[in-house]
């Protein structure tokens, strides 16, 4: 049988799960010895430590790809945490979190994103666009006597086209 779902209880094996913050949440786990090919639809959170190929539809729930997870799929979810390997496009109505253990290749559409330094990423990212604060005169707090400005803006060296090759 190709599909096997384990209902999670807060047992030691859950505590060993790589994404510790979600360990106590009741959710379904696809274990690391499981391979699924096809469509997964669900209305509860899902942690994938096995292999999944196809598509994942869980628009109101949280998908986590654990450190052992290998997913090649189109993903639609409320929130997505990537801590393993994921190839495919991710469409999240909420947040996408990418940990430093992640290996991601694909497109991400989300409301917001967080990415840890060190993540292995090749991605196209489209976030919900908010109005941009223009680079206007920054609001300067009143300077205290004797307080030094943080630093001087960089100095323009010159238009390079006519620049000589002097070392700077």
């Amino acid at each position: 049988m190709l599909k096997k779902y384990k209902k999670v209880n807060p047992e030691p094996q859950v505590a060993a799960a790589p994404v510790a913050s979600a360990a106590k949440i009741d959710r379904t786990i696809i274990g690391d010895q499981i391979f699924i090919e096809g469509i997964i639809r669900g209305k509860e959170d899902l942690l994938i430590e096995g292999s999944v190929k196809g598509s994942i539809e869980m628009k109101a729930n949280h998908l986590t790809v654990g450190s052992k997870g290998q997913v090649d799929a189109e993903v639609n979810a409320a929130n997505v945490t990537i801590g393993g390997k994921l190839v495919g496009n991710v469409n999240a109505t909420g947040k996408v979190e990418i940990t430093k253990a992640a290996d991601f290749n694909g497109e991400i559409k989300a409301k917001s994103i967080s990415v840890e330094d060190g993540a292995y990423l090749k991605a196209v990212i489209e976030l919900e666009r908010e109005p941009i604060k223009k680079f206007a005169q920054p609001e300067k707090p009143p300077e205290k006597p004797g307080e030094k400005a943080p630093s001087v803006p960089a100095k323009e060296s010159s238009m390079l086209a006519g620049m000589d090759n002097k070392r700077v």
């Binding site: 994103i113 990415v115 991605a123 390079l160």
Partner: protein
Amino acid sequence: MAASVADQGRKDHLTGPGYEAYTSNALKLFAEHLERNPQGKLLDIGPVCQENIRFFARRVKKHHVCDMFIRLDRRLRKGEPVRQIWQELEYPPDSFHGILVWELADRLNDEDVHRLVRVCHSILVPGGMAVIMVMGDQISSTETRSFVIGQDYRVQLRPQPHLNLPLRGRQNRDVLSMMSPFIPAKSFICRPGFMEFLFQRV
């Protein structure tokens, strides 16, 4: 490991030589260039940095991220040829309105710098811009950093301890020479030896 966490905390706030925050005029001009095109596409080949992703994702239609630093690091650690990493940048010609190269050129040998420049020239649209930085020989550490963009283009250098890359210490004239297929647009001296360059494809 408590020690490493503490160490990480310390490193995130390093302010010694090579780590001082500064205001980036090159990034300001670059962002303004991108904002002129509502359908703009940006490619960032620097170390993955969530602050920069959030910063630019609000300014372009599509923000492509392909961390070439980590790819280079993995190749070098395995002793594999570096040239294969350029396959990662096989985008169609004229794909991007801007490319953030950061200090990648300072981490490559001359042969791979030329490959990088050729690739960037091909995938940048005419009129598109590239940002390049060189640290010069004034810095005290060869540690790889990311350039974290903050409010009002204040840039903080953040150590990337997972990356171990050689630093070539290229100079102003070396950059101008290697980027000869482009038109040099602006350069800024951030501090002695550390420069930001804006290049434009004709």
